[in-house]
Symmetry: C2
Subunit: 648 residues, 2 copies
């Protein structure tokens, strides 16, 4: 009877897989292979302990350049009462590393001797004196490296399961080995399936989905010590998929069957597993990643042993996290190493985060230190947003049985980065501008990371008030004074001393499709019937700008069709226009250029960085100002349409 | 005029190298190469930023399997007042990932619809119904992944200098790339020189030194992102070395010239550099590693550009640390990545550590948590002891101008291991027994690390008293009662509750050369003239045993020639005998077997593990008891001569 489970808890799913592997005698190191002792052994895992075959040094060796002596012959020598030793009888020259002649038991450093010639005169011909004069006694075994000082034959040099580092290779060599027993690399077949999938680099038509899950999974396998075979895409055809899986079952240790995201793809996977072997798990209560399938197939051609198969979800974040949760552990067991554990720190959550109580929920987080606090800001939850994994500094796990956490709660973050990297992270929260991407790029060359989170100008000031950012981009126009930012800062940051740094003056205007098919000529047209507009969110500087000019022109917001239709970035507005979903939106020229739109310039505005005094002078932010002042940055921005560097 | 510096401070040496590289226009990313976007890109460093060429998704995509609808058509639908939508006109089936048809702006999940046939009856044929019934309204853009949700064309995907991880490869693919601009791997020539050197695997004669520095350096280069060329050994011949260096200067970016440890080898290196180019630095005030040489050579064949050369010290620890200090930084600069920085923690020093005030001193440390404290115990300082680098959990740096630190001082440790690994470390300080190596091996399979430090039985009890170990191996005989350990524990650990666990009963006896050439038959012979003995250090259980039996036999310690000649382990005693330095010593049978000695059994003794109550029940130590109780451990020990498991 197959054990058939649906959306079971993660720990039960793991236990089911482990149990099946144990029953199949696959919960162990797969096999040993002997490899040459060279630099390619780096990162391989010892499958057997290394016991020393020889000692190192394998003889008593001089640790210095000097003269081997008998300690007792030196007794009594002092600065004022030197002793003279005959070369040959009482002393013998040795280089560092030379064997200590058997009749001697100590070495006097050459710097502490005077070489004498046959007449007893000091001679510079230090290597062939007749005798030497010494002015201090030496203790037995002084400046001698005794046999086995480093390694004694038969001792344990390294245990099985150890991941080889450079110095380890030296110690293995020193202990007399010329090859190393390591665990064979697990072989993993990765089969992407889905009729809608196209190979990387294809010309894209609507509905085509680039197949890169197999690339991410293959890189994970490589990172974790295995070797991946990437199969080409198989369309959604039960027989074809069955054939490919059967093929993969011949020469591999694990099959990852990656379902496309289309409906029924998951069912294809489970049906194939049921047809060819045993379905153990069908769906796991983990987010992202629900539709995970686990089964065991007979290993072809003879079917005497078994091979596990994991049906991976189609969404890229789900697939990658399923790799981290299931596949890394298998690679660890099969190579005999300990699991790669992420370093964990505590951080303060910047936003309330909800989570379904029935699932183990893995939430990607941006993490960094602002002032005294280590902060964690949740990133996009979308399972299709691979860039959220790229931007993630770590994961928070909201376990089954909890419904999330409140802003201000302390949560454990499993880090993708080192703590040192977190200390070099600059948090910029506020209005979005394309030049922030440029700054991020230039900062990366100066050992800093810029994380910019786009919540609009006002959101940025609020983040500064809460101590959740090092700086905020802002272009908030005061409708009464016509001055940017000042009055808002006075209102929202009354208790903080901040600096305002002009980043750029930039043009705002209307974005339309190429050729401006609806013939939008200005704000008046936006208010005319039939024109679908897309707005920015409340608190965005661009929205304040719109409101200001609508007001000047006496246009009511309700006259604007789509006024309540909100996007969070300039590029979001541009994408909405480019897709044909709306006819126009207010934004910056660079966004229009990015998505090949027309741009109708309307206003100039001042885009400033608002920086609390305490960070303005910090070592953390110093490289930011270097970038902003640099010629290469200013030249690059000047080439972007709609930007200029005005008076400060 | 060449800048010629001798034993200069580390920061000056680094500055000199950096300056020379800047002048030669070599302080930069060496070059870009384009590589295919596949899993072999893992770990490579981006030499240019990745800007998105396409958006992802590149169309508005359904995020669910269901029906695309116009949100306004669904207004008013409730549980009790459902609405019916016509397929085609008002709704259209979409799979996850399908493009949203242009006339629609939201998706209703299939689970939230009822499919109706032509007669208005509910039908299970869900993919081809005539109409659907819905019982809830949807908001615009519900269950839609808008164009650019993940990545918007033109945005920064990854900055230059980024080290590629699995998910990054997915994001690069999603943004429309098929190849990646990465920095070319620096090519490093490694030239071992020294007449006394022999290749790994050679049959060893006295005076031969295994050449494995080139192996360690090559593995470092690989780890840091370069490609190493290992030259074969060159004997100490000025012309030959010059030729090989000139050869290496043609096709590489860096030459590492590794001097043998013999006298004058260092001078060969500096002379070769002076002959072929410019010597910048000759000796650096850093420990271990003093004789580091830095220079610049003309890059052959045309000599239009330059190539740096670093003369590496001959001692293996010095060579490896010189790599970490100088070469890693070059690899970082040349590939454009940030430096690999070690995580740093604070730990309490267990022993006073002296350091020359003139040097930056890098001290290898064993690090782990005992109770509430993170402890750092200095390892061997010998520059020839590569096993100290293998055993090191981290480095403490005693900077120039300080003379070390006191026991109990808090020091910064730069970690070679993760913090999680440190939490799994069991510190065993005390008497040495060969079975501890075996336990270490078996423990490594159970996610624990055993670090055993051999300071003798009494030293172990003192370490427990100071809270510096989780357990101690002890075999201290009370001469008055004939009982092991109890009276010592009562005296030294009066305020602690400890458990005594019998590990083994073992034989102690006299170790002599094969054939027992001096015909030593018992303790009486040890006291006879002409027999050179080697003792264990004060506080060692073996020494107490010796004293006990000497006393029983009425032999005075001064009758034993070499009584004050101390070794710290059984293997140390065995090595002293094997080398012919002494005639015999008291030790365990396993040590005799290890170095192929004769063993004359004399006494049995009880070897116990002394474990404070608080650790006895801990999760940390649980696997230790599993090992000790395991059949495989007991079987393995039983096969070792001189061991038996007695009554507990």
């Amino acid at each position: 009877m197959p054990l058939y489970l649906h959306d079971i808890p993660l720990d039960k799913a793991k236990a089911a897989l482990k149990e099946a592997l144990k029953n199949a005698d696959l919960w162990r190191v797969l096999a040993t292979e002997f490899i040459p002792l060279d630099e390619n052994a780096l990162g391989r895992v010892l499958s057997e302990p290394i016991w020393a075959k020889v000692s190192s040094p394998h003889y008593h060796a001089s640790a210095m350049d000097g003269f081997a002596v008998r300690a007792k012959d030196t007794a009594g020598a002092t600065l004022t009462a030197p002793l003279t030793l005959q070369i040959g009888e009482q002393a013998q020259y040795v280089d560092t590393g030379d064997p200590l002649p058997e009749e001697f038991n100590a070495v006097i450093m050459i710097e502490e001797t005077e070489a004498l010639d046959a007449d007893g005169e000091i001679t510079p011909a230090i290597r062939e004196p007749k005798e030497i004069r010494i002015r201090a006694a030496v203790a037995p075994w002084k400046h001698v490296r005794p046999l086995g000082e480093d390694i004694v034959a038969t001792q344990l040099v390294l245990p099985a399961g150890h991941i080889l580092r450079p110095a380890d290779l030296g110690a293995i060599a020193a202990s007399g080995h010329i090859e190393i027993p390591v665990s064979r690399k697990p072989r993993v077949a990765i089969l992407p399936t889905g009729t809608e999938l196209v190979e990387i680099g294809s010309e894209l038509k609507r509905g085509d989905i680039l197949e890169y899950n197999s690339l991410v999974l293959a890189a994970q396998i490589k990172k974790w010590g295995g070797v991946a075979t990437r199969f080409s895409i198989t369309v959604d055809d039960f027989e074809l998929i069955s054939q490919r899986v059967a093929e993969a079952a011949q020469n591999h240790d694990l099959i990852l069957l990656n379902a496309g995201s289309s409906a029924g793809a998951e069912d294809f996977s489970s049906s194939v597993v049921e047809k060819l072997g045993t379905l153990l798990v069908h769906g796991i209560a983990v987010r992202p990643g629900h539709p995970v399938i686990i089964g065991m197939l007979p290993k072809l051609p003879n079917g005497e042993s078994l091979i596990p198969i994991i049906g991976m979800p189609g969404y890229p974040v789900s697939a990658a996290l399923t790799g981290e949760i299931f596949v890394e552990e298998l690679m660890a067991r099969w190579t005999g190493r300990a699991r790669f554990e992420l370093d964990t720190i505590k951080a303060t959550l910047t936003r309330k985060t909800t989570s379904p109580a029935g699932d183990d929920d893995y939430i990607r987080m941006a993490v960094g230190r602002v002032g005294e606090r280590m902060l964690a800001a949740p990133l996009s939850r979308g399972a299709g947003v691979i860039s959220s994994l790229v931007r993630a500094d770590g994961l928070a796990v909201m376990p089954r049985g909890t419904q999330g956490a409140e802003a201000g709660d302390e949560v454990d973050i499993h880090l993708y980065r080192t703590r040192a990297e977190l200390e070099k992270t600059i948090f910029c929260i506020g209005s979005h501008d394309m030049t922030l991407d440029l700054i991020a790029q230039f900062l990366s060359e100066k050992d800093r990371r810029l994380i910019s989170s786009n919540v609009g100008s006002l959101g940025g000031l609020v983040a500064l008030k809460r101590g959740e950012a090092h700086l905020a981009g802002s272009h908030l126009l005061d409708p009464e004074t016509g001055i940017y930012n000042d009055s808002y800062i006075a209102k929202y940051l009354a208790n903080q001393r901040v600096r305002q740094v002009l980043l750029v003056n930039r043009e705002q205007g209307l974005l339309t499709l190429r050729g401006n098919p609806k013939n939008v000529k200005g704000l008046e047209d936006v208010a005319s019937s039939g024109i679908q507009f897309v707005n920015r969110q409340r608190g965005a500087g661009t929205r304040v700008l719109l409101d200001y000019h609508l007001n000047l022109k006496g246009i009511a917001t309700k006259q604007v069709l789509g006024y309540s239709n909100e996007e969070y970035t300039h590029l979001g507005v541009a994408a909405a226009v480019a897709s044909g979903r709306v006819d126009c939106g207010l934004g910056i020229s660079a966004a229009a250029q990015a998505l090949d739109l027309d741009f109708l310039p309307l206003f100039h505005e001042r885009y400033e960085l608002i920086i609390p005094e305490i960070y303005f002078e910090s070592e953390l932010l110093a490289p930011l100002f270097e970038v902003i002042e640099s010629k290469v940055f200013r030249d690059t921005v000047s080439e972007m349409p709609g930007y200029e560097f005005g008076e400060k």
